[in-house]
């Protein structure tokens, strides 16, 4: 297990609040294959919520349901107290849900700066003529966007690669840039799909620090999927455990750790 300072809830900038996202009895099938079976859990404001489970447990499917990529056949989702229907990724983004991908999805030909600026897409409103004529709103927006992006660049300590095309960056930094792009939209909820997959110890520690800092500093609610149980236990407030598309555990890291079903799922048990 990694050596990290344990999380002090009392020191955090934002107190954990009411549920911002509630999932009720979500079931998702692909043809005859059941990816998720009747899963319910909630995510509270300002918390770091992890979804863990062995390979093929349905973690990514769950995240994609929240993000609107998949539509569950059964169940409902409440977001900020209102039921969500007909979700699409674009609508999710409009409602303040940002995400990163397991296999980094950055705009590879663009610089780090341009990637983050692209993240400001929904925060930009000026039309063609306003930009062409450099009317006040266009200029103001451009400045605001630039400022917001520079703040994130500083926050994530990527000033030195600001102008580098992202395809040239090492994997760990690309992951960080992707986090930056998601943050640029100033999301209410940040969905992180295996933010630490494929990283070395040092990169993992950096990423953990950034996730906690984001949560602390901006009060962003974080929902993350992770494979590496050790890391998750260190940074999460509450953990949902999935196995074969079913929920087998839900609670604080300590509760989950001592849950017999979870132990069986992870360590294997003779059936």
């Amino acid at each position: 297990m990694m050596d990290m300072t344990p999380l002090q809830i009392s020191e955090r900038g934002f107190a954990i609040g009411q549920p911002i996202l509630e999932l009720n009895e979500i079931s998702l099938r692909f043809g005859g294959v059941k990816a998720l079976t009747s899963i319910s859990f909630d995510v509270r404001q300002h918390e770091v919520r992890a979804i863990i489970g062995p390979n093929g447990a349905g973690k990514s499917s769950m995240l994609n349901v929240i993000n609107g990529i998949y539509r569950p056949q059964e169940g409902s989702i409440n977001y900020q107290g209102k039921p969500l229907a007909n979700m699409t990724p674009t609508r999710a983004a409009r409602m303040g849900i940002s995400r990163t991908f397991q296999n980094i999805a950055l705009f590879k030909g663009m610089s780090v700066l341009d990637n983050l600026m692209a993240g400001r897409y929904l925060r930009t409103h000026a039309g063609f003529l306003e930009v062409a004529l450099q009317l006040p709103r266009a200029r103001r927006e451009e400045n605001e966007n630039r400022e917001a992006v520079e703040e994130i660049i500083e926050f994530l300590e990527i000033e030195h690669i600001r102008k580098t095309p992202v395809a040239r960056l090492p994997y760990g930094l690309q992951k960080r840039v992707e986090l930056g792009r998601a943050l640029a939209a100033e999301p209410k909820i940040l969905l992180l799909d295996e933010p630490m997959a494929g990283m070395n110890i040092e990169e993992k520690q950096d990423m953990c620090r950034f996730i906690l800092d984001v949560n602390d500093h901006y009060g962003t609610t974080v929902v993350l999927i992770e494979h590496d149980m050790g890391v998750v236990m260190d940074i999460s407030d509450r953990v949902v455990v999935l196995d074969y598309g079913k929920k087998i555990g839900d609670g604080t890291p300590n509760e989950v750790r001592s849950n017999q079903d979870v132990i069986d799922a992870y360590l294997g048990v003779a059936h």
């Binding site: 990724p89 983004a93 692209a118 000026a126």
Partner: protein, 302 residues
């Protein structure tokens, strides 16, 4: 070089540069689509032909110039959007070759429909601008430059500049680049993919109309206009498939150099080198700088 020679040189060069801007305009239609969806739209030439043929057709039906123009603009927007909706969208996630083949097929369909509806006759398009030298310029400097060429060059230049601005500075332009680069990521930051694609195809339709009107006014509204697509190819290779400024510069290079080559070194080859000179230039570029002058460098991590 005598004064007369110099004037002649300038004439050839200016004529070439102006026609170069018109190549840029045709190439721009390709860049639009390529930037947004990574598709080389082989049907762009057919769209140019269809657009101007329809415009002339509406005028023959009795519409005045300013009546036919908006009607054709609307028609091209519809054609563009329909192409996206019914040809390209069902093929989303297919590989590039499939998409290219689809646009080749589409080119034949558009050419066929155009001639079925409007007939096969070569028509004249009179924009009310004379293809005569500007007299004050000729009087003052002795350089003969056609009014039509100047007008076409200016219109093409403005169009290219406006679209360049659209791409590089506006929300839609940034969205477009993002969509081309990684559609899933673009969706996740709230870019409405389908709207952007439709918009781009509609814009490509309008660009095709403007290009068609300029070329039609100069060399007649005829089937040969579809070959403009082939003329745009060296411009795209030299400028880079994704770059608007690249298209302008490359258009000027192609236009200027092919005319100069024709006049000055053409005779030693027996003439007619205008036809192949741009392609030779393009091959040279492919050898030396395959991404083009302004294209995005292809970076591969190994």
């Amino acid at each position: 070089m005598t004064m007369l020679d110099f004037q002649f040189f300038i004439e050839v060069l200016v004529g070439g540069l102006l026609s170069g801007l018109m190549y840029s305009l045709v190439a721009l239609g390709f860049v639009l689509i390529y930037k947004a969806s990574g598709v080389f739209n082989f049907a762009q030439g057919a769209m140019v032909f269809f657009a101007v043929l329809s415009f002339v057709g509406f005028m023959e039906l009795g519409l005045p110039f300013w009546g036919a123009l908006p009607v054709t603009v609307v028609l091209m927007v519809i054609v563009g959007m329909a192409t996206e909706r019914f040809v390209l969208r069902p093929l989303v996630n297919q590989n590039e070759n499939t998409l290219l083949m689809a646009t080749i097929g589409l080119a034949f369909v558009i050419e066929g429909v155009a001639q079925m509806v409007w007939g096969v006759d070569v028509r004249r398009l009179d924009l009310g601008i004379k293809d005569e030298p500007i007299s004050w310029l000729a009087d003052k400097t002795g350089v003969f430059v056609s009014q039509l060429d100047i007008t076409a060059g200016v219109v093409a230049g403005v169009m290219v500049a406006a679209l360049g601005l659209l791409f590089s500075r506006t929300k839609v332009g940034r969205g477009l680049r993002a969509v081309a680069d990684d559609p899933a990521a673009a969706l996740s930051i709230g870019i409405p993919l389908k709207h952007i694609w439709m918009l781009v195809w509609a814009a490509a339709g309008v660009v095709a109309l403007v290009a068609g009107m300029l070329w039609g006014a100069r060399s007649g509204v005829q089937f040969a206009l579809v070959l403009l697509a082939l003329k745009a190819l060296p411009v795209l290779i030299i400028g880079g498939f994704t770059s608007v400024p690249g298209v302008i510069v490359a258009g000027l290079i192609v236009g200027g150099s092919e005319k100069l080559a024709e006049v000055y070194i053409g005779p030693s080859f027996g003439g007619g080198i205008e036809g192949w000179f741009p392609y030779m230039l393009a091959v040279l570029f492919l050898l030396i700088r395959p991404e083009g002058l302004f294209g995005e460098k292809i970076i591969r991590r190994v």
